[in-house]
């Protein structure tokens, strides 16, 4: 994930972080442990879903599924559920089963076995709350999407590779920042290498 900041690696600042923070961030870079929450088949579907919604199509991938697995295996919850939804862990199990059901009905394959355009079409309906049949009739589809996305995004954007891609400076204690104002940059902050402006350049292309 090179993105717009090819010369920026947030881990190069790790020696300026406090010990507690460094331990938490470095742990995310270690090899994932064996699955405890998802079974093997669920993990394949979860990985396909995660790849689809985060547009990860090549290695190295942020190991989102292993990170989510760890979260639920350690019973770390988010603190609420909607009254028309089961708890988040159950929602994951049900939604993954539902994605496979829909994929088999439409394409004759598990969700992970579908080509990208089929996966995208299914996720589009998942996001819009319009998947129907089987498990999808047992809970609120749109809210299930938000439960899964909350899980995926919280893990993906906690990973230093994602920080590198978006140019996030990462932990900043005890160093802090001295240059806050417009146009100012800390000595260790790297400018964007690609001066593409998604707004202006798209308008020009039209």
């Amino acid at each position: 994930m090179v993105g717009r900041y090819p010369d920026f690696d947030v881990m190069q600042s790790a020696d300026t972080w406090d010990d507690a923070t460094r331990a938490v961030v470095e742990q995310r870079l270690r090899s994932p442990t064996d699955l405890r929450f998802f079974d093997a088949a669920e993990a394949v579907t979860a990985a396909a879903f995660s790849d689809t919604v985060t547009a990860q199509d090549r290695e190295p991938r942020v190991p989102v599924v292993a990170m989510i697995d760890k979260k639920y295996a350690e019973s770390r919850h988010d603190g609420y559920r909607y009254d028309d939804m089961p708890d988040d862990a159950t929602t994951w199990h049900l939604a993954l089963r539902g994605l496979d059901e829909v994929a088999r009905r439409r394409y004759g394959s598990d969700f992970a076995g579908c080509p990208n355009e089929v996966r995208n079409a299914i996720v589009e309906q998942f996001a819009g709350g319009s998947l129907q049949g089987g498990v999808w009739d047992t809970f609120n589809c749109k809210r299930a999407f938000s439960v899964l996305m909350r899980g995926v995004l919280a893990e993906f954007y906690s990973h230093p590779w994602a920080w590198n891609e978006i140019g996030f400076g990462g932990p900043a204690y005890p160093r802090g920042y001295m240059r806050l104002g417009e146009g100012l940059r800390e000595p260790h902050e790297k400018p964007e290498a690609l001066q593409r402006d998604p707004v202006r350049d798209t308008e020009t292309a039209r």
Binding site: R4, T21, T52, T54, A154, E165, A172, R185
Partner: protein
Amino acid sequence: MLRQVLKGSSRPRHNDSAWLLDPQRRGVPNRDRMQRHADSDEVDLCIVGAGAGGSVLAQRLARRGWRVVVLESGRFWDPDRDWVSDEAGSHGLYWTEQRVIGGTDPVELGKNNSGEGVGGSMVHFAGYAPRFHPSDFATRSRDGVGADWPISYAELKPHYEDMERELPVAGQHWPWGDPHSYPHSPHPVSGGAARVWRGAMKAGIDMRVGPVAITNGVMGNRPHCIYRGFCLQGCKVDAKASPLVTHLPDAIEHGAEIRADCRAVRVEIDSNGRAAGVVYVDRTTGDMRMQRAAAVAVAGYSIETPRLLLHSVSTQFPGGLCNNEDQVGRYVMVQGASQVAGRFPDEVRCYKAPPPEVSSEQFYETDARRGFARGFALQTVSPLPIAWSEHVLAGGHWGDALREYMRDYNHWFVMGVLCELLPRPGNRVTLADETDAYGVPVARLDYTQCDNDRRNIAFAKDVMHEIWLQAEAQDVLTIDRYAHLIGGCRMGFSPVDSVCDKNQRTWAVPNLFIADGSVCPTQGSANPALTIMALSARLADHLSHAA
């Protein structure tokens, strides 16, 4: 005048907390020599919850010689060891056990609006510390909506002033509500906040820097802010205020015991109808214990305070303690906290500097031309990557589009509103059918907006769009959300309209008090922390004079 001359240097009159901290390490140094009380020892006051309300009450009364025990469900933080400059790694700061949400417009709980551990949710609050306006105390008589308080702004004002000195609060002279100055000077602002400011000026909207409960200069052994931007993850610097650094060191120095990892499950009522103490689970051992006390103050905030009362069933109170008039848990409020992000050609890097920078209360009061009663506040908020991804998702983006908006992170800056949503009896905490690990039913919060609420939020979003237009943002992205909790055990004029009286004494039990934000009958458009603390300081005055 004298305070102007001494700006930033005047030491609080009733609180030495900042001078009791260790300049070389975070945490509460005198915790090691904290006084301990036996369960069987009838202390003067047992407080449930070591957050904004409970901590100030403990500190004020301990200073006056009261023997105080505070039961806190969560951990006693050592910030050097327990807190991190990291979003996902800060999960332990929130109340993450199960709760059920319902209603037409459900309020998501967890990281956004809950806290657990010594210091409460102020440990991860952004830091905005505005006062309520005088009008907030009489919205029913003035604006025909909400409720009047049984106390006035004037009764709270001296305590606001004390709290602003003790936190301390930094900001420009404040022109709205009851105009006032702050003890610490305004912080420098980031490039993003400067853009908000310019856009607002062009739109005819006045902004001010602050008010934030973040040191600008040293205060005792608390250092200057280092602008690292992780206010919402717990301040490892000790620059941002939370009771852990602003009140508990002084409370402990004067003999208060903060008993962490202890989950209150029931307020015990004796045969005379008085509170005898608090039954709690020692979460370290799993033992069920009871702390005897001459008086009890519940300070668990808008969800846990009603839950504890509703679960404290007895023959006198079959439907829950203090609930014979069916008032407990009602009138819970949240603020409509939609956020609009603006995109700029240059890098803005919103992760630098504290998220709370500049704000406006120009739209706080009712203006009949807007078509709804009451108003909203405007504030800067700067999301870190996970929060920004939720913002992008709310715009309907996932997959390639989401990744691309995320890559553009450094070009966006975000502002938000706090819309005053009105108190409604059906917006209520009740007990759900499921129970927690200790067999106590979990809380259920139902929430439904009224038409006035919806019009307020829609208008506020239009104002944010106008500011970004004037600031020449190229693109905008909007997320609808809520912030803060308040109400649920409100103070009022009689037992049929409220849970407690003007001095926060429950109508039903003479030695039981509510000491948190759940007593507020309205919420204004202000972040609630300062008001909760000021109310507790006032309650302490009342209790010590009454005793």
